[in-house]
């Protein structure tokens, strides 16, 4: 139906290869043009991009926090140690026998005995509540045997089996596995991961809405221009393009701002983290975003910008008729 006034007007007017070339030249011009359009109102554009940047930096920072937390706890996984609190009133001999007996267990690597007296001394030193002990008539602390499993039995499950076995011993009043707090930590981290995913979804949704609304206002501002373009025969997709590029730029630059924010946060926290790690005799270093994570973040941001402007543009430009 397009050849109404001329047998084949589109081809006759401009040769196909030229049209193809000009299509891409137009694309390029419109991409640069919409960037220039953003530059014409630098404050407004930058504020929108900053909002996008912050919305993206938040989930990215949470992700980094979790990534580093998981790295820390991963190195703790095999530090399982079983603490056995002995029955009160055992003779030294019984205790020695017991220690000897469990040292011979296949699963056991090393055994350390902490007597009641040592326990009290350690408590005085470490807890800061030392003076409170003076008000007590007798030593309330039990003697403790710390059992380190062999590496092949140090997994949470293996250590649990060993604990169950040791608790069968009659000298043991209570056994405690140091892995328990680790399991709790793991479940807390899992909870945190779930919350971060949920928060990330909310923030990404806000990115969609922010870009959509900005593009919508953009379209309304240029209503008369769109009308004129339609009057002189612009197709919808020709009119869409600059707005799609605007959305893409918003996303792309928002993503870059998010990366700058996240990286600054890592830099800022690094010295503090090194200090803390030093106190724990660890050479732990804070990990920043990797290159692939950077690409993912900027790519996702651009994609969100594009999707959001696409949906908005489709809806609103259709409605504008000269």
């Amino acid at each position: 139906m397009r050849n109404i006034l001329n047998p084949s007007p589109r081809i006759a007017k401009v040769p196909l290869h030229k049209r193809f070339l000009m299509y891409w030249v137009n694309h390029f011009q419109q991409a640069i043009g919409s960037l220039g359009e953003l530059w014409r109102t630098p404050m407004a554009s930058l504020m929108t991009m900053a909002v996008l940047g912050i919305s993206l930096a938040l989930p990215a920072s949470f992700h980094l926090l979790l990534k580093n937390a998981e790295r820390v706890t991963a190195s703790w996984d095999n530090a399982a140690e079983v603490s056995l609190f002995l029955q009160p009133g055992l003779s030294d001999k019984t205790t020695q026998n017991f220690i000897q007996r469990i040292s011979l267990y296949d699963e056991v690597d090393a055994v350390t005995y902490i007597s009641k007296e040592q326990a009290v001394a350690e408590f005085r030193e470490m807890s800061g509540f030392g003076n409170a002990l003076d008000y007590l008539d007798s030593n309330p602390l039990p003697a403790v045997v710390q059992v380190t499993p062999k590496p092949q039995h140090a997994s949470p499950a293996g250590a649990k089996l060993l604990l169950a076995k040791l608790q069968q011993e009659k000298e043991v009043e209570q056994g405690k596995l140091d892995i328990e707090w680790l399991e709790r930590l793991h479940s807390i981290i899992n909870l945190a991961v779930d919350s971060v995913v949920a928060i990330a979804f909310l923030l990404l949704a806000s990115v969609l809405l922010i870009v959509g609304n900005t593009i919508r206002l953009n379209i309304l501002n240029r209503r008369s221009e769109i009308e004129v373009m339609k009057l002189v025969g612009a197709t919808d997709s020709f009119i869409h393009r600059p707005f799609l590029y605007t959305g893409l730029w918003y996303g792309l630059i928002g993503g870059l701002i998010a990366w700058v924010l996240t990286s600054s946060l890592v830099l800022w926290m690094e010295s503090a983290v090194i200090k803390v790690a030093g106190l724990y005799q660890s050479d732990f270093r804070l990990l920043g975003l990797s290159f692939s994570e950077f690409l993912f973040m900027v790519g996702l941001a651009s994609l969100l910008g594009l999707i959001s402007s696409f949906v908005t543009v489709k809806r609103h430009i259709h409605l504008i008729e000269p």
């Binding site: 030229k18 070339l21 002189v232 612009a234």
Partner: protein, 226 residues
């Protein structure tokens, strides 16, 4: 070029803008469309450029029924019609050159071709020295001529003008109409809606008169037949 067959247009709210209008404008013909305000002149032009769809009847452009052209193809159709508005509809933040170049950019012309054609169109309307002004800095007559340059820049076979001289004094109006005559002399069909009867009388072209949405006379003014 344009043929109306029993065309009616009813706007929502049951306002009847056109009633069973028939006329035929031949290729290369120039005609005026007149009538009191509200008689349906603008509606008729809007139907040709598919800004509105007819409620009833058929409209042919070059022998093709455009009443059922799909929305997707409307832009391609409009590229063959140069439209000129009373308020000239220029983009006020773009230069004269960019305004005139718009239809060519949309059609995908190359930069050199655009420059050549825009300068030629501006030359025709006598504004080649104002190419890089912005329209705000031009007079009303000059703005109207920019609008005409934009309408003719891609050499459409049909020109539609809606009150092109509405805001201009008689001298400028005559100049504008001389331009239309010049385009007509090279084979472009021209349809000009105007209520400026003095102008029509001076030019002595075929005149279509609308009255309350009906075609009341067709022919030279004063000797028209219903």
């Amino acid at each position: 070029m344009i043929k109306f067959e029993q065309v009616s247009k009813v706007y929502s709210g049951s306002h009847q803008a056109l009633q069973k209008v028939d006329f035929h404008l031949k290729q290369g013909e120039m005609a005026f469309l007149t009538g009191h305000s509200g008689a349906g002149k603008s509606t008729l032009l809007k139907l040709i450029s598919l800004l509105e769809r007819p409620s009833d009847g058929k409209i042919f452009l070059n022998g093709n029924d455009i009443s059922r052209v799909s929305r997707r193809h409307v832009p391609y159709l409009r590229r063959h019609i140069g439209i000129i508005f009373q308020d000239h509809r220029l983009l006020m933040d773009k230069t004269v050159f960019e305004n005139v170049a718009l239809p060519l950019v949309i059609e995908g012309y190359g930069r050199n071709e655009i420059e050549r054609r825009v300068m030629a169109a501006l030359d025709k309307v006598g504004l080649s020295d104002k190419a890089f002004c912005i329209p705000v800095h031009l007079s009303g007559g000059e703005q109207q001529r920019v609008g005409i340059a934009r309408a003719v820049v891609n050499k459409p076979p049909l020109l539609l003008a809606d009150e092109p001289t509405g805001n201009l004094d008689p001298k400028l109006s005559t100049e504008i109409l001389k331009l239309f005559e010049a385009f007509n002399s090279v084979g472009v069909s021209v349809l000009i809606a105007t209520h400026d009867l003095g102008l029509i009388a001076k030019m002595r072209y075929r005149t279509l008169t609308l009255k309350n949405g009906k075609m009341s006379s067709d022919g030279l003014l004063g000797e028209g037949h219903a």
